[in-house]
């Protein structure tokens, strides 16, 4: 029976439209995955020696922060790991035992990248431990840790989509983390002995293994119970409220499109994820401005940060204009819609998003001084004046249909990479960095700001020209775009 399932999986994989369409992309994705694997492997081997050089006992330190590692893993899984429910419906009416269906689906999650990746960290680390004389008990520790990773996998299956449970858990952990950082309360004092015990004793490692088995059993049970069309597999539909946003009526056609876009952002998983990501981008600057990473201290990288902080929404939303409307693109193309106004309304939406992000980012002023905030403001001006146009130009060529109901591919969408988009990305980031650098070295930081800001304003002046160009692209690409949007992945 499993043979059948595996053969079906293989066919689904090789016959998906994206597989045949872009081998180059698959190779790039493979390279990306390989990069992560290599990073983890190197980290696994090196962390022992790094910690030893710092004067810390390696195993004890790893155990100390293990709790955060595991929680972090769960968080990432929550957002990005796909749940195995998607294609069960066709099997329900066939003479296949339900338990086999569930075992297969759960088994599929076990070989997911999210689990395998950790092995690339832990195996080298354990090997180093053994070689360094920690003895074969390290293997027990390793088995315990891997069992915990797998428990995470099944815990995610159980709590996925239950936002209340997840966010409560997350806030508790964040609170504990902050408490530890500021020295109030150290949770790791309590958790460290447990992880250490998996190495130190001969029996403690069995506990996580039992946990893994238990979580598998619970998720199996939960899954099986929910394997019918009126409960677990039922299409979840939210209760809808008709919202008329009459305050937008004063803006005419622009208002009409803005109304739709606001509803698009509010009511769809995929677009909501974009908004959350944009919000997180605002904090990206912390990496740069807190001197946390040495490589980021030069002025060019700081401009890079300035652009990213206010540009989150612009980049994540803008690159998919008009793909957001792919599901009803045929409607948009056959109705009395002036492309100009459509493009204009999307532009205004991005501007509003950027301004809001810049305002929220004003906390940088409080904590880091006005110069840092100037970087952000100047970055925002450049974003509004130049990057908004570039992003929409790029989007006009990317013909990927977007399924608004699926949240999964929001981050690092493989289909978003194509040569044209990458080429357009260069002026988005490199040009302002260069401008600032030139101004900074030749004159002063203030002149550097001025250069970037002036570039932004100049870009703004070209708005009509760019809009006309984008309109032309929409028109020439119309047929290809409609055909591409009809592809279901």
């Amino acid at each position: 029976m499993f043979k059948h399932f595996i053969s079906l999986e293989w066919k689904a994989f090789t016959r998906s439209t994206s597989f045949s369409a872009n081998l180059v992309l698959k190779i790039l994705m493979g390279l990306g995955a390989l990069y992560f694997i290599v990073c983890f492997a190197i980290l696994g081997t090196a962390v022992f020696f790094i910690l030893k050089d710092e004067g810390l006992e390696p195993l004890a330190t790893v155990n100390k922060y293990a709790i955060y590692y595991l929680v972090g893993d769960l968080v990432i899984r929550y957002f990005f790991q796909k749940m195995p429910v998607t294609n069960i419906k066709p099997f329900l009416g066939l003479p296949i035992q339900r338990s086999i269906i569930v075992h297969f689906s759960l088994g599929k999650t076990a070989i997911s990248f999210f689990n395998v990746l950790h092995a690339f960290f832990f195996i080298p680390f354990t090997v180093v431990l053994i070689v360094q004389g920690y003895g074969l008990q390290a293997i027990l520790w390793h088995l315990g840790m891997m069992a915990l990773i797998y428990s995470n996998n099944f815990i995610n299956v159980l709590i996925n989509n239950k936002n209340s449970v997840f966010y409560t858990l997350l806030s508790v952990v964040v609170a504990l983390g902050l408490a530890q950082y500021y020295g109030y309360f150290d949770i790791t004092a309590y958790t460290q002995p447990f992880f250490q015990g998996m190495y130190g004793t001969l029996y403690l490692f069995l506990l996580p293994i039992l946990l893994a088995v238990a979580t598998y059993y619970f998720s199996f049970d939960y899954f099986k119970k929910n394997l019918n069309l009126d409960t677990g597999l039922a299409k979840k539909s939210d209760e809808a409220r008709t919202e008329n946003f009459t305050w937008l009526n004063q803006f005419g056609t622009l208002g009409t499109f803005l109304k739709n876009d606001i509803k698009l952002l509010k009511r769809n998983k995929r677009s909501r994820t974009t908004v959350i990501m944009s919000f997180l981008f605002i904090f990206y600057g912390l990496l740069f401005f807190t001197n946390a990473i040495e490589a980021y201290q030069n002025p060019m990288m700081q401009v890079f940060a300035g652009i990213f902080v206010s540009g989150g929404f612009l980049f994540t939303f803008g690159q998919f204009i008009p793909s957001w409307d792919s599901a009803y693109y045929q409607l948009m193309m056959s109705q009395n819609i002036q492309y100009r106004e459509y493009i204009s309304s999307k532009w205004w939406l991005m501007v509003i998003g950027t301004v809001i992000a810049t305002l929220i980012a004003s906390f940088y002023w409080v904590f880091f001084g006005w110069q840092i905030y100037m970087l952000i403001v100047v970055g925002a001006i450049y974003n509004i004046g130049v990057n908004s146009h570039l992003v929409m130009l790029g989007g006009a060529f990317v013909k990927t249909p977007i399924d608004l109901t699926m949240a999964n591919k929001a981050f690092g969408d493989k289909q978003a990479f194509n040569v044209k988009t990458m080429l357009i990305a260069i002026p988005k980031l490199l040009v302002p960095m260069l401008l600032y650098y030139i101004g900074y070295t030749l004159f002063s930081a203030t002149i550097g700001f001025l250069f970037v800001a002036v570039a932004g304003v100049l870009g703004f002046a070209f708005r009509n020209y760019v809009f006309t160009k984008i309109e032309k692209i929409y028109k020439t690409e119309k047929y290809a775009t409609i055909a591409a949007y009809k592809q279901k992945n």
Binding site: S237, A240, R241, N260, L264, Y328, Q330, N336, A483
Partner: protein
């Protein structure tokens, strides 16, 4: 009125899916398009709405060539399939949106919705559901009524009778007949159902493998004629 000149669509050298040398649909006609699967009905409508590119030839909608100008859009409305609905809007929001695009204010749209209240059977307005969560039949109802907003002069419906329950089919036929009687409105309907098509259309064209094989003004014998033709 619709004028088709030398229209062909082919996807590969061997596969010509549509080949219509000449077809004239005068204003005010109620035009029915029938044919088996793959006959080219949806292809024809897609070409008419400039959603796909003709391989040769062109279509003129009220003297506007559809693939070179957009002037036909203000007075043309269509419902082909689900991709003409915006899934994350409620039915009312969708109607108001279409109304906005056709220069109708909220009151106008409300008046039209009130007129067709029976058609909705109480399941669509105030239903607290987004369009994506409605049943297929209800989605179709929304799409069909949306084509009536703004008194368009050309109404295109692709297989409107499919997936509708018997009562709704009856009500839909009333709606289409009403449109057919308006000399200002040209209605184009495609269908697999010969009986319904014969009832609501005053001219029927049958397509087979992309070519026009029958072009008749509807009369009492039309149904028998068509059934005989398709009973191969």
């Amino acid at each position: 009125m619709i004028q088709v000149t030398n229209l062909t669509k082919r996807y590969t050298a061997e596969r010509t899916v549509l080949n219509i040398q000449n077809l004239d649909i005068p204003k005010g006609q109620s035009f029915g398009l029938v044919g088996n699967n793959g006959a080219g009905k949806t292809t024809f409508f897609s070409l008419l709405l400039d959603l796909i590119q003709p391989s040769t030839g062109y279509i003129k909608n009220t003297n506007v060539q559809v693939d070179s100008s957009e002037a036909w859009k203000p007075f043309t409305s269509a419902f082909i399939d689900e991709s003409f609905l915006i899934g994350y809007l409620t039915a009312e929001e969708y109607f108001y949106f279409v109304g906005d695009l056709r220069g109708q204010n909220k009151a106008d749209v409300d008046a039209l919705l009130k007129k067709h209240e029976e058609f909705f059977n109480g399941e669509i307005l105030n239903s607290k559901k987004y369009l994506r969560d409605l049943s297929k039949g209800n989605m179709k109802k929304v799409g069909i009524i949306a084509t009536l907003i703004g008194s368009p002069e050309v109404v295109i419906l692709d297989e409107p009778f499919a997936n509708l329950d018997p009562t709704t089919v009856h009500r839909l036929k009333t709606i289409i007949k009403e449109l057919a009687q308006d000399p200002n409105v040209t209605v184009l309907v495609s269908s697999h159902d010969l009986v319904h098509t014969v009832e609501v259309c005053n001219r029927i064209v049958a397509l087979h493998l992309g070519e026009v094989v029958k072009d008749i003004q509807t009369s009492p014998e039309t149904l028998k004629e068509l059934e005989a033709f398709f009973a191969v």
